[in-house]
């Protein structure tokens, strides 16, 4: 493969709590994100999606493993120059457009916050221009700069959030459920905007969501995470066409389809970790590339089963 | 020659009036009730030196001698006594059958001469922290050495029980005022075995005390109440008329007592200056209001000769000013004491103003009051406040001071204690009055409010003032006691630092000190002794080292069922706190009645003094 690896996550582990009361939210997670792609991360609530995103952007410290960006290790202690550079290169879009904007600041400040931090905008006029452009880029009118967030609808707010990330001219954007808090009718606005920007600016996305239909629409590759572990990773269509891991299958079977005819007769595959796997005690699972580009978590016996299914 | 006192007549039972009200003059129910805000600190009379504590102890434990209502010494626990010719040895013959009882009235033992020895021993143990031990060891032989542990054998101390009923004191010096000291707490007896038993706990509660006085402390709950019940076994029980004294604690007594008095819940009330008008305006109430009797604490404004205050208040400049006699005299003449006194007593400000440091009715010799003795007689008669003179003196002072390089206005730092409203008020009046009269281009008075915590250490003792109101109370009934503040290293106004010289070129203070020293050692010729002290005091006042201000007016104005002139009188000691012989009036005295009673009392006292002098 000649794609450039932008981000590598190796054996990532994230813990919460203190010594006595440890909770492992993410365990032994591996994946790469290639430049220019959209990498989808799906899984049920509480499975650790956000935690991974935050580990990458360094809100949550990694307890084990490493995160490598453009060949440079960015987990653990880093010097302040790298820190500044990374702040610029990796940005995040948050789930809740209501909660992620500072209600007491004007759009102008919100959008230029990153600029102030990097102090790389030159003159004040220049900064204004950058903000204006960013707003235009996300389809907002420049005059909105002087308003406060609560004057906007959810979709508009989310676009402000995107503009805020964009002015940093990042390479990688971690989009943590950027649309789940939005209304169906405006979700599309945001999705379109994201793909549009990706095309224009060559962005790379880590797209976190639990709405599989959206993820399917937007992602190039998808990783399925369950209880802090990635259980399957494959290119989107491959995953949807032949899901191997029982958890992935159950997830896919549950996606609601806006088609009453289909929907009424749908069958949900249930996933019970206890009965779906074979003797994990004796035979622990490992992360296996079952066919090129399709990874799965399973022990030898399972992997051979999956192989059979593929054939 | 030695003095001998005859045994006093036992007051016969028949002398007690059959009708206790004496035809409606006195109240039927002889129970005294009051509220108080200041709690006694300790009922251990051997250690405390607080006035409120004395007032209580005086009624619980009796002394060798006592004063009557005119201030004449009378036998009490000692039926008779005599002194040796050299005046150093005093022998007392004790009354027999006086009992120590506990707070419930149970007899414990008899009071004997040993109890005075035990008390002295207790007193002289530094571990007991007696605050009056110094009074004792300032006169009794070897007591100070014992206190300081220079000698360890108590037998060497000048107090001895020859037998159960004979007590002998040996003095350091033949001081003429020894009898008067006997009513002070440090000469109180205490039952020895009980002292030993209680040890540290002596006098910490009413059960940790024995009583041989007129009352028992039957209830003692600090910060709540105390009740004194008549001691039925008291040797002079016939002269105890008030059967119960009921003290109720209330921190807000000043605010509430008036109301309680009006509701008839208490027997007396001190009327705060602020509400005095209200009482005086009401005809019914006015008829119950009278001044209270004068005390022996005196107040005077002192000029400080050793200023240590901040440069901001120009201590060097003050030194120049204070050493200029015309400057000081200008202040004296310009000080309208009546005006400032009105803050405390608006109705009769002259009443308490005095021209001397030693108050009138404190000491007398040959029937002449000390304040009328020697040069002091002129001082007493003089009018201090004189505007014209003040202005003239000021102009003179200004001239002289300008010459010596002083700058004007002279800054005068005048501290006051912030916990005293009346002091604060007075200070404001004084400032305004003096500045107005002498001109604020001449003096500029800066009031220095100081918190009560560490007040004296922060102000007077540190020399951190220019002019300040100070006070002094006597330690024994002799004029000598009032020279104490002005001795060398006394921490009042440091007169030894003066640069002033007398007419014959001697340092002024040296001259003053010489007279005082001469007086102090004059033990036999009391007339001469008194005259010397009087001249010394007059010297200080005439040269404006101090400005006599007032004599403590007890509690200002009161409405009270208590007759002020029926109480034992003593210029010093605790006798005047005794309830002996007192009866509650059916109707309180008003001011006119008070004045009449006072005149009557004064005449009777003068006569009694003359009588006693014979």
């Amino acid at each position: 493969m000649n794609k450039e690896k932008l981000l590598e996550v190796k054996n990532l582990r994230v813990e919460f709590g203190n010594k006595n009361n440890k909770f492992v939210a993410v365990n032994d997670v591996n994946f790469n994100i290639y430049k220019g792609e959209t990498f989808g991360l799906v899984g049920e609530s509480g499975s650790g999606k956000t935690t991974i995103g935050r580990a990458i952007i360094r809100i949550n410290p990694a307890a084990g493993g490493e995160i490598i960006y453009s060949g440079k290790k960015i987990s653990g202690k880093i010097d302040s120059d790298t820190d500044r550079a990374l702040t610029k290169k990796i940005q995040m879009i948050f789930q809740d457009p209501m909660a992620s904007l500072n209600e007491r600041a004007k759009v102008d400040y919100i959008v230029s916050e990153g600029l102030y931090n990097l102090k790389n905008y030159g003159t004040e006029e220049n900064r204004k221009k950058i903000v204006e452009q960013a707003l235009l880029d996300v389809g907002l009118l420049p005059e909105f700069a002087s308003r406060f967030p609560h004057e906007f609808s959810g979709g508009q707010r989310q676009r402000i959030g995107i503009a805020r990330a964009l002015v940093m001219e990042p390479e990688l954007i971690i989009a943590d459920e950027p649309i789940s808090a939005l209304d169906v009718s405006i979700r599309a606005q945001v999705i379109n905007l994201l793909s549009e920007l990706q095309k224009q600016k060559g962005l790379t996305y880590l797209f976190i969501a639990h709405d599989l239909s959206v993820v399917r629409f937007i992602s190039d590759r998808i990783a399925v995470i369950h209880k802090g572990k990635i259980v399957e990773l494959a290119e989107t269509e491959m995953l949807f066409d032949c899901p191997l891991h029982p958890y992935t299958r159950s997830l896919l079977s549950a996606i609601p389809t806006p088609n009453p005819r289909v929907e009424r007769n749908k069958k949900i595959e249930s996933y019970d970790p206890g009965s779906s796997h074979f003797d994990y005690d004796k035979n622990p699972p490992s992360w296996v590339e079952i066919v090129p580009g399709h990874f799965i978590l399973g022990n030898e016996r399972e992997v051979s089963e999956y192989r059979k299914q593929l054939d | 020659s030695g003095t001998t006192t005859e045994p006093a007549k036992e007051p016969a039972a028949s002398e007690q009036p059959a009708d206790i009200t004496e035809g409606g003059k006195y109240a039927e129910e002889q129970v005294y009730k009051t509220v108080y805000a200041e709690e006694v600190t300790s009922i251990n009379y051997l250690t405390t030196a607080t006035n409120v504590d004395f007032a209580l102890a005086a009624n619980l434990v009796d002394t060798l001698v006592d004063y009557d209502m005119y201030g004449i010494i009378q036998p009490a626990l000692a039926e008779s006594w005599e002194s040796s010719d050299d005046g150093l040895t005093w022998t007392f013959h004790l009354r027999k059958g006086v009992k120590w009882v506990d707070y419930e009235g149970n007899e414990v033992a008899e009071t004997t001469a040993n109890d005075f020895v035990s008390a002295a021993q207790y007193l002289l143990d530094p571990a007991n922290e007696s605050e009056t031990a110094n009074i004792f060891y300032s006169v009794i032989k070897n007591a100070e050495a014992y206190f300081n542990k220079e000698i360890t054998d108590f037998a060497q101390v000048g107090v001895k029980a020859e037998d159960d009923y004979t007590l002998v004191y040996t003095l350091k010096e033949p001081i003429p005022y020894f009898e008067s000291m006997l009513t002070y707490v440090c000469f109180f007896p205490a039952y020895g075995p009980f002292l030993d038993e209680m040890a540290d706990m002596f006098g910490t509660s009413n059960s940790a005390l024995l009583y041989n006085g007129s009352y028992l402390l039957s209830e003692f709950e600090p910060q709540m109440q105390r009740i004194l019940k008549k001691n039925p076994t008291y040797w002079d029980a016939a002269n105890i008329f008030i059967t119960e004294l009921n003290y109720k604690y209330n921190k807000e007594a000043t605010a509430l007592a008036g109301e309680m008095y009006k509701r008839g819940e208490i027997s007396d009330v001190i009327i705060p200056p602020a509400s005095l008008d209200e009482w005086m305006k009401d005809p019914v109430l006015k008829d119950q209001v009278r001044p209270s009797r004068l005390g022996t604490y005196t107040y005077f404004y002192a000029f400080n000769f050793k200023p240590t205050f901040d440069a901001e208040y120009e201590p060097e400049n003050w030194k120049l000013a204070v050493n200029n006699s015309n400057f000081r005299k200008a202040v004296v003449a310009g000080f309208n004491r009546i005006a400032s006194m009105k803050t405390e007593d608006p109705y009769n400000p002259e009443y308490r103003i005095i021209n001397t440091i030693t108050p009138p009715n404190f000491a007398s010799e040959n029937g002449v009051d000390f304040t009328q003795t020697g040069n002091l007689a002129a001082v007493t008669a003089r009018e201090f406040f004189n505007e014209k003179e003040a202005v003239a003196l000021r102009d003179k002072a200004k001239e002289e001071l300008t010459a010596s390089g002083a700058t004007f206005p002279i800054k005068v730092l005048m501290p006051y204690n912030t916990n005293s409203t009346s002091w604060a008020n007075e200070a404001q009046v004084v400032k305004q009055q003096l500045e107005t009269l002498l001109g604020s281009d001449f003096i500029e008075i800066t009031l220095l409010p100081h918190a009560p915590t560490g007040f004296l250490d922060g102000t007077r003792r540190a020399g951190n003032y220019a002019i300040m109101k100070c006070n002094w109370g006597p330690d024994y009934a002799d004029p000598q006691t009032y020279t104490d503040p002005f001795r060398r290293e006394g921490n009042y106004n440091f007169p030894e630092y003066t640069t002033e010289v007398t007419a014959d070129g001697k340092n002024f203070f040296d001259a003053y000190e010489a007279i005082v020293n001469e007086a102090k050692t004059e033990y036999t010729d009391l007339t001469k002794r008194y005259e010397l002290f009087a001249n010394a005091e007059a010297m200080l006042i005439d040269n404006a080292f101090v400005i006599p201000y007032n004599v403590s007016g007890g509690d200002g104005y009161v409405a009270s069922q208590v007759h002020p002139f029926e109480t034992p009188y003593s210029a010093f000691g605790i006798s005047s706190n005794r309830w002996k012989g007192q009866r509650l009036l059916a109707k309180p005295l008003n001011t006119e009645e008070f004045n009449a009673a006072q005149t009557e009392w004064q005449a009777a006292r003068d006569a009694a003094i003359k009588d006693a002098a014979k």
């Binding site: 049920e44 609530s45 906007f152 609808s153 959810g154 979709g155 508009q156 209304d183 169906v184 009718s185 405006i186 979700r187 599309a188 606005q189 999705i191 379109n192 793909s195 549009e196 639990h210 709405d211 599989l212 239909s213 959206v214 399917r216 629409f217 937007i218 159950s250 997830l251 549950a254 996606i255 609601p256 389809t257 806006p258 088609n259 009453p260 005819r261 289909v262 929907e263 009424r264 749908k266 949900i268 996933y271 | -």
Partner: protein
């Protein structure tokens, strides 16, 4: 399966009927019209889904059936007929007490906060039973456990004594449903019952509701903006926009033959219909300000195919079929013939059209 067909239901009894309901709120001196003359007939035993974007009035409309409007809101005009009584006239708490729970129960959106955190789950369910089924003590407890079991809570005996925080989101939502069901109501209003849950749980809850509907013979109103959910559960669909029902029809009709431009837009923007690499269809703009009086069709400013009349006069309902009507001037015979947008056509190709 005893499931009734749509036809049966629609020919059956009308259990609740709202007519020209106008609901207004007073907000800091200003007046906000949340519902602008919406009408709806609810048939016994049906599942009706109300869809529409946030703020379109779905919740307010249904809350008015239970007298649960916030204190600053009121029914300005219109009728809400239930059992021959006009509930729009109800004023006192006493009136509503007869309806709430007993006749109509509601399941709220947020399972995390809808339960009293300080009471055991069992007690909260039991409260409904004691209130509406006249049972007490042990009997009520037994029924509670039965209902907990019914809503798919395993080990209900133990769960009875637990507190809400010991339950996962999905479990809590089941409890909330249990509370509603325990009232033994005729009508169950589910206000976004699954929005907060993830897909697998969502599917379970929906299945559960369907089962309960049969068991207890419930009429259910689903409020949601997830068309997938709608497709799963609804017999009929009401599409709301800006306080009005703009289209109403059977699920098939609305999905396969939508008539209102807003419905078109809604369906078009489904990502399932999108083609990877091409932009999704999206509705531009923002919903109208309800403080202002809305003239004409509320959707007009955002509708690329708006007619001039849309800005002038409010469209009436046009009947497409006896079970299907829509408020849009496009259905007026005088209006130009407008084909549904491309997306809708594509959808038909993909999933088939009505009557196929």
């Amino acid at each position: 399966m005893a499931q009734k067909s749509i036809e049966e239901i629609l020919n059956g009894e009308v259990i609740l009927s709202a007519e020209d309901v106008v609901i207004k709120f007073n907000l800091r001196g200003q007046e906000l019209t949340a519902i602008r003359g919406a009408s709806l007939d609810l048939h016994k035993g049906e599942s009706l889904a109300i869809v529409g974007e946030s703020g379109s009035g779905k919740s307010v409309f249904t809350k008015s059936f239970m007298g649960l409007l916030d204190a600053n809101g009121r029914i300005e005009s219109g009728k809400i007929m239930y059992k021959n009584q006009d509930m729009a006239r109800y004023k006192t708490e006493d009136d509503w007490i007869k309806i709430r729970g007993k006749e109509i129960a509601m399941v709220f959106q947020d399972p995390m906060t809808s339960l009293n955190p300080l009471k055991t789950v069992g007690k909260q369910v039991q409260e409904s039973i004691e209130l509406h089924q006249g049972l007490k003590g042990e009997e009520a407890r037994r029924l509670t456990i039965e209902i907990l079991n019914d809503v798919g809570i395993t080990d209900p005996e133990r769960r009875y004594r637990q507190y809400p925080h010991e339950f996962s989101g999905g479990m809590r939502q089941r409890v909330v449903i249990a509370i509603a069901v325990a009232c033994n109501p005729n009508i169950l209003i589910c206000d976004e019952p699954t929005t907060a849950l993830d897909v697998t749980i969502q599917a379970q809850i929906l299945q559960l509701l369907k089962n309960l509907q049969q068991k207890y013979d419930l009429t259910i109103i689903y409020i949601t903006h997830d068309l997938g959910v709608v497709a799963n559960v609804a017999d009929r669909i009401a599409v709301m926009y800006a306080g009005d029902i703009v289209e109403l029809g059977t699920a098939e009709e609305v999905f396969f033959d939508p008539k209102h431009p807003y419905t078109w837009a809604l369906l078009s923007s489904l990502p399932q219909l999108g083609i990877k690499g091409e932009p999704l269809y999206s509705i531009k703009g923002t919903p109208p300000n309800l403080f202002k009086e809305i003239v004409g069709d509320a959707f007009a400013p955002r509708n690329p195919r708006a007619l001039k009349i849309d800005f002038e006069q409010r469209p009436p309902y046009f009947e497409v079929s006896p079970t299907h009507k829509a408020r849009t001037w496009l259905l007026d015979p005088r209006a130009p013939k407008v084909e549904p947008p491309l997306m809708i056509q594509k959808m038909r190709e993909k999933w088939g059209a009505l009557n196929e």
